[in-house]
């Protein structure tokens, strides 16, 4: 993959960052990516990100677990291997609830977590593109794609970033 040219704005406060994003987006610029050292509340609204559907996926995985556990236990206990335990019916739903519950949780948790890593494309051994290593420490950064943009655009955007409280603005090829 060819190197991408990015304009990077560095901020040292989360509130300044959110205000800057709101302002810059209002002025019609497209914010590429924002990196923060911890989850900043309100950032997703400022960036206009679509709310994550991860919880819906979690529900679907959970429902799969419930269905799988109940149908499997039913098949085992009534068809494949029916046994008389203390004269109780082969289909004894109440005593299957604990395992059904555990399987629901198991499927939902694993399904959601694996979906999370899949969607974020995170995996062991991934070589990350680190724009600025300080953004996992104490600073916040905002990047803009500069491909096909002229000098005037870069200059205007840089001064806008500084006016919005960026402590550093620089160009980086990644």
């Amino acid at each position: 993959m060819s190197a991408k040219k990015l304009l990077v704005g560095i901020f040292d406060d989360d509130h300044t960052l959110i205000h800057a994003i709101e302002h810059i987006r209002h002025d019609g610029y497209k914010v590429g990516e924002v990196f923060t050292p911890f989850p900043v509340h309100g950032l997703e609204h400022a960036l206009g990100l679509r709310p994550t559907k991860l919880h819906t996926a979690g529900f679907m995985f959970g429902a799969t677990g419930t269905t799988f556990a109940l149908s499997f236990i039913t098949w085992v206990s009534t068809l494949s291997y029916p046994n008389n335990f203390g004269g109780k019916p082969f289909f004894s739903l109440p005593s299957w609830i604990p395992i059904t519950f555990e399987m629901t949780v198991l499927f939902a948790a694993w399904g959601m977590t694996l979906s999370f890593y899949y969607l974020c494309k995170l995996y062991p051994g991934k070589q990350p593109k680190i724009v600025d290593p300080r953004t996992t420490d104490h600073l916040f950064s905002m990047t803009f794609d500069l491909d096909g943009k002229d000098e005037a655009y870069i200059e205007k955007l840089s001064s806008l970033l500084k006016a919005q409280g960026a402590i550093e603005v620089y160009i980086k090829e990644l």
């Binding site: 923060t36 989850p39 997703e44 994550t52 291997y81 335990f85 004894s92 939902a108 948790a109 300080r134």
Partner: protein
């Protein structure tokens, strides 16, 4: 501005921290030379763990006959230890999941270490039922795997099988929860290292290439919240199911409906005691006093007082119900616990779990590190005896007096128990050296609200209000 929180609340992070300082304070514990104290502690723990492995090997070679378990006391030290370790694990999930749902910010200082403790405790717990099987090479029979032994399946109505599912789900979900929380912090540690160095590469693998994109954080928060929502009923179900192992049997002293809530409260009680034991040492040795403050210790002591009282109430309720039931076997079981040959274990349990935590009604004692440490040890002992009382004193005098028998543990049983302590400590020490012991990102996210500077600012804002003037006096 960050949202307002009463300045009367104690700050959760002290020492005038900045975000940068938080990173440095936590990461410094994973860098630098290995301290001799840590090395000695780890070697001793590993030696103890090795002895435990030797005892397990002995038991596997010579069979369950090497234990003191006998014809009526089929469950003894082994299951006592299993329940004890599982109980200890529960505090980690309580702190990370239930306190997250209740938005208790003080959890951020201790959740990482408590979750690690959960996982290591469940590892130790899992060994006991597995090796109690005797023919451990057939342990996979407990899972409903497709097989050629005819159509031979497990009994899905058995609480013992429910336990298999509960414990294995609990272990794997706790592991996911813990690791997903660790990923951003591994990213932080990686970026503190020199790019391209071995250290950078190792932590990069551990961090899964985390860089902290806004979208990733959004998903991460959603995932954490839902895993917390799933873990909360899960942790309650696990000890409920463990209690079903006892409650669904017809042994006097076990066959009671109070067991599930009583076991869950006891689990949280013993778990918090273990968290305190470990964290009081860790905060001192690793200079984390600014992150695990006296306010944290006091909060945990309040939970200890609450759950200790719940457990105590359960003990007394059991006694009442045994008398009120009119069943002579039930009455005898309890009279024998309190007055029989093993009465000393019953009264140790009563003293450690019901009476001793009551000292925490005093604020001064709740905030005393030395007293808290001592109490945490007392509670750990008391909760071990609770399981011993429930198991051994219910079994050693069977319905038939000719079957009455004494129970004495052998060195193999004791060795396995001591060995799991070594395994637990070895894992915890390795964790404390190489992993971030405090959740870096989560502590950073509360700094602006619950740090001491934030409290001072908020005090400045409101100090002229009448209500605060009267309080100041």
């Amino acid at each position: 501005m960050s949202h307002f929180e009463s300045p009367l609340r104690e700050p959760l992070i002290t020492g005038n921290k900045t975000w940068k300082k938080i990173t440095d304070d936590i990461v410094v514990n994973t860098t630098g030379d290995i301290k001799p104290l840590w090395l000695i502690a780890t070697l001793i723990s590993a030696a103890v763990a090795a002895f435990g492995v030797f005892c397990i090997g002995w038991e596997v070679c010579y069979g369950i006959g090497t234990w003191g378990a006998n014809k009526t006391v089929g469950w003894a030290w082994d299951i006592t230890n299993f329940v004890w370790w599982i109980g200890i694990g529960h505090a980690g999930t309580l702190i990370s999941a239930i306190l997250l749902l209740f938005r208790q910010k003080w959890r951020t200082g201790v959740n990482r270490a408590a979750e690690a403790m959960t996982i290591f405790a469940v590892v130790c717990a899992g060994l006991f039922p597995v090796f109690h099987m005797g023919r451990v090479w057939d342990a996979f029979f407990i899972f409903p795997l497709p097989n050629t032994r005819g159509p031979l399946w497990q009994n899905f109505n058995s609480p013992l099988l429910w336990d298999v599912f509960a414990i294995s789900t609990y272990f794997s979900v706790s592991l996911l929860f813990w690791y997903t929380g660790l990923v951003p912090d591994f990213g932080t540690i990686r970026d503190q290292a020199k790019p391209g160095s071995i250290r950078w590469k190792i932590y990069n693998v551990l961090s899964f290439g985390w860089v902290g994109e806004a979208k990733h954080w959004e998903r991460w928060e959603s995932l954490s919240l839902i895993l917390a929502g799933l873990s909360t009923p899960l942790v309650l179900s696990v000890h409920t199911i463990v209690s079903f192992d006892f409650a669904t049997s017809i042994v006097p002293g076990w066959h009671t409906t109070i067991l599930p809530p009583y076991f869950v409260a006891g689990a949280i009680f013993s778990g918090f005691a273990m968290v305190l034991t470990l964290m009081l040492v860790a905060r001192k040795v690793m200079n984390l006093e600014d992150y695990i403050t006296i306010a944290h210790v006091e909060s945990m002591n309040k939970i200890l007082l609450l759950t200790g009282s719940m457990v105590g109430t359960a003990y007394l309720t059991e006694l009442f119900v045994a008398w009120y039931s009119g069943s002579m076997y039930e009455q005898y079981a309890f009279a024998n616990r309190a007055l029989g040959p093993l009465a000393w274990s019953y009264w140790t349990m009563m003293f450690c779990n019901l009476i001793f935590p009551q000292f925490f009604w005093s604020k001064k004692l709740r905030r005393s590190i030395a007293f808290t440490f001592f109490t945490s040890i007392v509670v750990n002992i008391g909760m071990w005896f609770e399981r011993f009382v429930i198991i051994v004193t219910s079994l050693y005098r069977d319905y038939l007096p000719s079957s009455w028998i004494d129970y004495r543990p052998t060195w193999v049983e004791v060795g396995i128990y001591v060995g799991t302590g070594g395994i637990f400590m070895t894992l915890f020490l390795l964790f404390s050296r190489f992993f971030p012991v405090v959740a870096i990102a989560e502590v950073k996210s509360i700094l602006k609200i619950s740090g001491d500077q934030a409290r001072a600012e908020q005090w400045d804002e409101v100090k002229d209000d009448d209500v605060y003037k009267t309080l100041e006096k």
